[in-house]
Symmetry: C2
Subunit: 338 residues, 2 copies
């Protein structure tokens, strides 16, 4: 049901029945290693290209989620997926393997929550009995597509982020128990004129705050309604800017409840390779469907708002002098609502 101007309230209990998360070696070295289903020790996954390795991550996460839900892929009516690759090939080829009717989406790193929001809407309104949402990213495929050939190993400024190698999938239905998707807020495109593809956090922070403001307004809530509010992948630079913007807009949010997935998935002190922190569709997806879901299931968290941020960066529009348009979509997930 439409809630306010740009949000949905889901009152028919769309339950996240099961999730699947698969990550790579750097994520396996990070503080959340134990919260993922599979940690691969290498980036290649025995595939002949990084793109095929990324696809494999997605397929594994999807198959795991379906299996953990006690279902077969034939029982899932729709798969809502997308990723960072041109023509979202990781998800398209995964959808070919899965043979589930497929809705391709693109919101850069916000794809995770765009997919979860749409999946929850379908289940909530009775347009699906079972639906799956998924997304993924791979450090090497993103690097070569958006910046420089991966093999260059080019030096980067301290604002740069590190694309997460990982995939996450969630199966939703009205049946069973589990964390419930209670609402979603769809973001507008926000562009503050930032043109530096090595400073995505700064570009995305205003979009995250815009969507949070809209969410609080549409649901008439204070940030304290939530135990945890996480942004997708602002990393250290964007996280600081987001905090400044929250203060500027007088949004009362305590540092203890506001975190960022890009800072949670790695230990930026002990893992200097990640520079400012994590990014990529796989970042918010693996943290949400792995770490956060675990805490919602065991009762450590009751109410969480995930604001997945996306820099809708295009090498072509960047070359043509355009700035980086950004977006953020927020989804509220609550445990223990029966």
């Amino acid at each position: 049901m439409l809630q306010g101007h740009q949000s949905w309230a889901f009152t028919n209990r769309p339950v996240i029945q099961a999730t699947g998360t698969v990550v790579g070696p750097d994520e396996g070295d990070g503080p959340l290693a134990n919260d993922f289903d599979i940690v691969h020790g290498d980036l290649q996954l025995e595939q002949e290209s990084w793109e095929k390795a990324e696809r494999k991550l997605m397929e594994e996460a999807a198959e795991l989620a379906i299996k953990k839900a006690g279902l077969t892929k034939e029982q899932i009516q729709f798969y809502v997926g997308g990723d960072l690759m041109n023509q979202i090939i990781s998800n398209t080829f995964a959808a070919r393997t899965l043979t589930i009717p497929y809705l391709g989406i693109f919101g850069a790193c916000s794809t995770s929550m765009e997919g979860l929001a749409l999946a929850a809407m379908m289940v909530n309104s009775g347009d699906a009995d079972y639906v799956m949402a998924g997304t993924c990213s791979h450090n090497c495929t993103s690097e070569k597509q958006f910046r420089y050939p991966t093999e260059y190993g080019s030096q980067k400024p301290p604002t740069a982020q590190y694309t997460v190698t990982g995939a996450g999938a969630a199966v939703l239905s009205r049946k069973g128990d589990g964390p419930i998707v209670t609402g979603a807020t769809i973001g507008r495109v926000i562009d503050m004129g930032i043109k530096d593809p090595f400073n995505m956090g700064a570009a995305m922070a205003p979009a995250a705050v815009d969507t949070l403001q809209a969410h609080l307004r549409d649901f008439d809530r204070e940030p304290g309604y939530y135990d945890l509010i996480v942004t997708g992948d602002l990393a250290s630079v964007g996280y600081e800017i987001a905090n400044e913007l929250l203060e500027k807009h007088k949004i009362p949010i305590s540092q203890t409840i506001y975190k960022d997935c890009g800072l949670m998935i790695y230990d930026i002190e002990k893992q200097p390779v990640v520079i400012a922190g994590g990014s990529g569709c796989g970042c918010s997806a693996s943290v949400t469907y792995g770490h956060i879901m675990k805490q919602l299931r065991n009762g450590d968290l009751k109410r969480v708002l995930v604001i997945a941020t996306g820099a809708l960066l295009s090498p072509l529009s960047f070359q043509q002098g355009e700035s980086i348009p950004c977006i953020a979509h927020a989804v509220s997930i609550e445990g223990g609502v029966h």
Copy 2:
């Protein structure tokens, strides 16, 4: 409401309140010229790049649709859009201009009906009062991204299709009168192993037939339920293959009711530049929202099924030896249902 395995039945009258269509010079030379709102005489639209011209087409179509619906952009809650460009930049930048909360989608040329299906679902379920769906393509931007630099003017085989320069947008709500979206069928990814990017029609035809079969099964209908069934952009080669597949699968469909947008938008005899016919997101969008909508409004057509086909072609996966995965989404639109 879920209908069968992969379809939605919309019983709450999601009305297409208004549409906007904008095309380029070749489409203005074609047989449907009088059915479009704006025909541009050149491909540049006074913009400094073809990409910016494509964005302009989308913005014009969207603004027209909103204006014709008697609304302001502030009244539209969600914009569902996508296109063929990497990172769907035409729609992302149009969404920046429009400042409407934005859901980016990608289904190649099937994007038109993926967007309409999702928009109708939102209105039908009460998740939106007003929602807009839109898509676009531009001959020169597609040519350079998917094949060769446009300036080459490379020779092409007789199976090649010509990307439509055009955009279409539709505003939906439960209010007012107009053609009603009564159902939709979401397609699976179908890949018959075709690897030739100059023969997209052949690659896509099996996906179109698969989705049509699913639609007829899910709704328990015969093709004769419809006055018109149109595929998106199979063009002459794919249209012939689709007809063969329909015969093989014993789907009784008369030639008088089955047409293809790629063959409707151009006169392939008088316009040899288009070779086998039209393709691109703008093909099914401009034909559906221009020509077909006009006929539904004036009563010449009562029940139409639009099966938008998409070749989820990626230059990268093609270079890595992959075949072309395809998909088709079908939407039924009925006039005079009050």
